[in-house]
């Protein structure tokens, strides 16, 4: 188990390292010119000024040198001179935002809580809700309840998520006013405001995502209920609930958890539509904005964050497997 974790950690570091190189190279050889973009943003842009910015931010240096400086900054921090002022970028330094001149790590740490709040709150709804509906449908397989659950889940999941979110916001908040206005307030600041501000995003994210889990959970549950050991459990004289939950669901949950792990990682890396539609400043919105601004340090940091989360989710799912299924040995 320990050896396994060490090995997974090493391979995770490799994945992140390769990702960072890829992102860096893509930008270096890509069609964008960050120096010029920055220069144009500042107003009066002359070729001399653009050259000055290129020099100050090191855009003239070879890609290897730039990457070395970048990596050094991640581990040791660095000072960045721009526009005549020196900006201290403490470690882990992923550079500074070209638009606000704030260190990227500082921006991300401000944005992460909102995204984490949305993602975890949504997951807390869609995972149990989806599984519950799936179990219900599997138990009543072939009945009207089953057909209704599967049908409505298919209908709901065939509508694009952003449309559902937009309509929910439009009707529930703006037109009918039945839902509280959405906003992000740090939980440490005001827990009640945090809760009410995120309630609608949670519900919309939770309910729409639960449809996939309902269908997936149903399939997995139908499989496990037809297993011999479930028949054994029934033949022992266990209550129907025990047969269903302890023997059926415990086995059915394994494949669902795999998908959940990856879904959660993706959500934590940025809930773009949710943040954009409900006006919440999180990672997803930050990344979207950064792409529009060609704000390379921010983009690369969000990509790295996504890579870290996906790798971490994979390890977490593997560890969870070994906890649930005693036949799985991590090695």
């Amino acid at each position: 188990m320990f050896g396994y974790l060490v090995r997974r950690l090493l391979s995770a570091m490799l994945v992140i390292f390769v990702t960072s190189i890829l992102v860096f190279t893509l930008f270096f050889y890509g069609p964008s010119d960050p120096g010029l973009t920055l220069c144009e943003k500042s107003g009066r842009c002359t070729p001399e000024r653009a050259a000055l910015i290129d020099k100050a931010l090191g855009f003239d240096d070879p890609v290897t040198t730039q990457y070395a400086i970048y990596v050094k900054g991640v581990f040791a921090g660095r000072t960045i001179n721009i526009g005549g002022s020196a900006i201290n970028c403490p470690r882990p330094c992923f550079g500074i935002s070209y638009t606000t001149r704030q260190p990227v790590s500082q921006i991300l740490s401000q944005r992460i809580p909102a995204t984490v709040s949305i993602a975890l709150g949504g997951a807390l709804i869609f995972f149990p809700l989806g599984l519950l509906l799936g179990v219900l449908a599997a138990r009543k397989r072939g009945s009207a309840t089953d057909r209704m659950l599967v049908g409505s889940s298919l209908v709901l999941s065939s509508i694009p998520y952003y449309l559902v979110a937009l309509l929910a916001y439009l009707y529930l908040v703006l037109i009918w006013g039945v839902a509280p206005t959405t906003a992000y307030t740090p939980i440490t600041h005001n827990p009640v405001a945090w809760f009410t501000g995120l309630l609608l995003p949670w519900l919309v994210l939770g309910i729409t995502n639960s449809t996939a889990y309902a269908r997936f959970g149903r399939g997995s549950m139908v499989d496990s209920l037809s297993e011999d050991y479930v028949r054994t459990a029934k033949a022992k004289g266990l209550t129907q609930r025990k047969v269903l939950i302890k023997h059926g669901l415990r086995a059915a949950i394994v494949p669902v958890l795999t998908i959940f792990g990856l879904d959660l990682a993706t959500l934590l890396a940025g809930t773009v539509f949710t943040e954009q539609i409900f006006g919440i400043q999180g990672i997803g919105r930050e990344a979207l904005q950064a792409i529009g601004d060609q704000n390379f340090p921010v983009i690369s940091a969000t990509v790295l964050l996504a890579a870290v989360l996906v790798v971490a989710a994979n390890v977490a799912v593997d560890v969870m497997y070994s906890v649930i299924d005693p036949r799985v040995r991590l090695s």
């Binding site: 054994t232 033949a235 266990l238 086995a251």
Partner: protein, 359 residues
């Protein structure tokens, strides 16, 4: 129809009143997308305490379906059942799920084939056994249940039961898993044990050990055993009575001795001829039963065995093709029931054997 008669000439025990298990005119049908599957039709048998009944047949003959019906394991919504199954005088068909639960694993317990699939891979063997005990002893503590599990594992011959009780099924060998399965079935001292091909997945030596164990347990507990199998060797060793099933119906029913020595129905002959014997000439080829088991969606008219039967020519007219033979006492007075149109099966068989030995 004669299958309805509960009066059973093969009953060995002289007990007064009804046998412990009485299956009377049981019919089980499953509606499927392709049509209604008649898995079991008009089946009747009974078994007394301390006795062993072997149910023999090919896959799809209805042997497992009928024994699972005794525990009410068929989904009531997806199964059509009629007839009567009485366990200790209590009617099983139509019983509520709550009441069925009290019978399952308690008065009647089941040993399944392929213990690797039948035991839950995520739970410890001991936990699965104590779970069976606790299901019917709600007042027992979990410590009592664990003790019970250890003693049951000991009883079925698992070495170091106090340590192996915490193992998972995959850490057991095939034979040990089957023993654990038996231990689980014994958790509540059942009066009837249904063993569904308990030795099919095991090698011959382990198979012999498991059969010995079952016989030993039967002596100690005096329970009744239903042995569902396709292996006539197992039947010869274990069973007092034999019920041969074909296409969901009983085709021959009587004492093991009578059936194995004087089989009266062509299907049973076929079964016996397909077993190799130690003392026969190795040059002689085994005779498999030609053809395939019939579809239960649309079973053949008349006698379901007629498409595979070599003797339809000896029955006058086209009786075999048009009329289902009744389950009647064999004409030679050997004392068991057969379902066959042949006028004198014993005579036909001996003539056939004489013919074969001439070739």
């Amino acid at each position: 129809m004669s299958t309805k008669s509960v009066a059973d000439p093969t009953r060995v025990s002289e007990s007064t009143g009804e046998p412990f298990l009485v299956v009377d005119d049981l019919t089980v049908k499953f509606p499927t997308a392709d049509g209604l599957v008649s898995a079991v039709s008009n089946l009747s048998y009974s078994i007394d305490m301390g006795q062993t009944l072997g149910i023999v047949g090919e896959s799809g003959s209805g042997k497992s379906v009928s024994s699972m019906a005794v525990l009410g394991l068929h989904d009531a919504k997806r199964t059509q059942m009629s007839g009567s199954i009485r366990v200790g005088g209590m009617e099983i068909i139509g019983l509520s799920e709550t009441r069925l639960r009290r019978v399952r694993g308690n008065q009647v317990a089941m040993i399944f084939q392929d213990a690797l699939a039948a035991l839950h891979p995520f739970y410890r063997v001991g936990g699965q056994i104590s779970e069976a005990y606790l299901a019917h002893h709600p007042d027992a503590s979990s410590r009592d249940a664990r003790k019970k599990a250890v003693s049951l594992l000991d009883r079925v011959g698992i070495p170091q039961p106090d340590r192996r009780v915490d193992d998972y099924p995959h850490q057991f060998s095939g034979g040990m898993r089957q023993r654990a399965m038996i231990a689980m079935a014994l958790a509540n001292d059942p009066r009837l044990l249904i063993a569904d091909e308990p030795t099919t997945a095991l090698d011959v030596t382990v198979q012999a050990q498991i059969l010995d164990l079952l016989q030993e347990l039967q002596r100690d507990f005096g329970s009744a055993i239903i042995m569902v199998t396709h292996d006539l060797g197992v039947i010869a060793e274990m069973a007092d009575d034999v019920l041969v099933m074909y296409a969901g119906r009983a085709v021959e029913y009587g004492t093991t001795k009578s059936i194995l020595s004087k089989p009266q129905m062509p299907y049973t002959w076929g079964l016996l001829e397909s077993i190799p014997e130690m003392d026969t000439d190795p040059e002689i080829r085994l005779l498999p039963i030609p053809g395939l088991p019939p579809s239960l969606l649309s079973p053949p008219k008349g006698c379901a065995f007629h498409p595979r039967c070599r003797f339809t020519g000896e029955v006058e007219g086209d009786l075999c093709f048009t009329e289902l033979p009744p389950l009647d006492p064999a004409p030679d007075g050997s004392g068991h029931l057969i379902r066959c149109h042949l006028h004198d099966p014993a005579e036909t068989l001996s003539r056939d054997n004489a013919l074969k030995s001439e070739v």
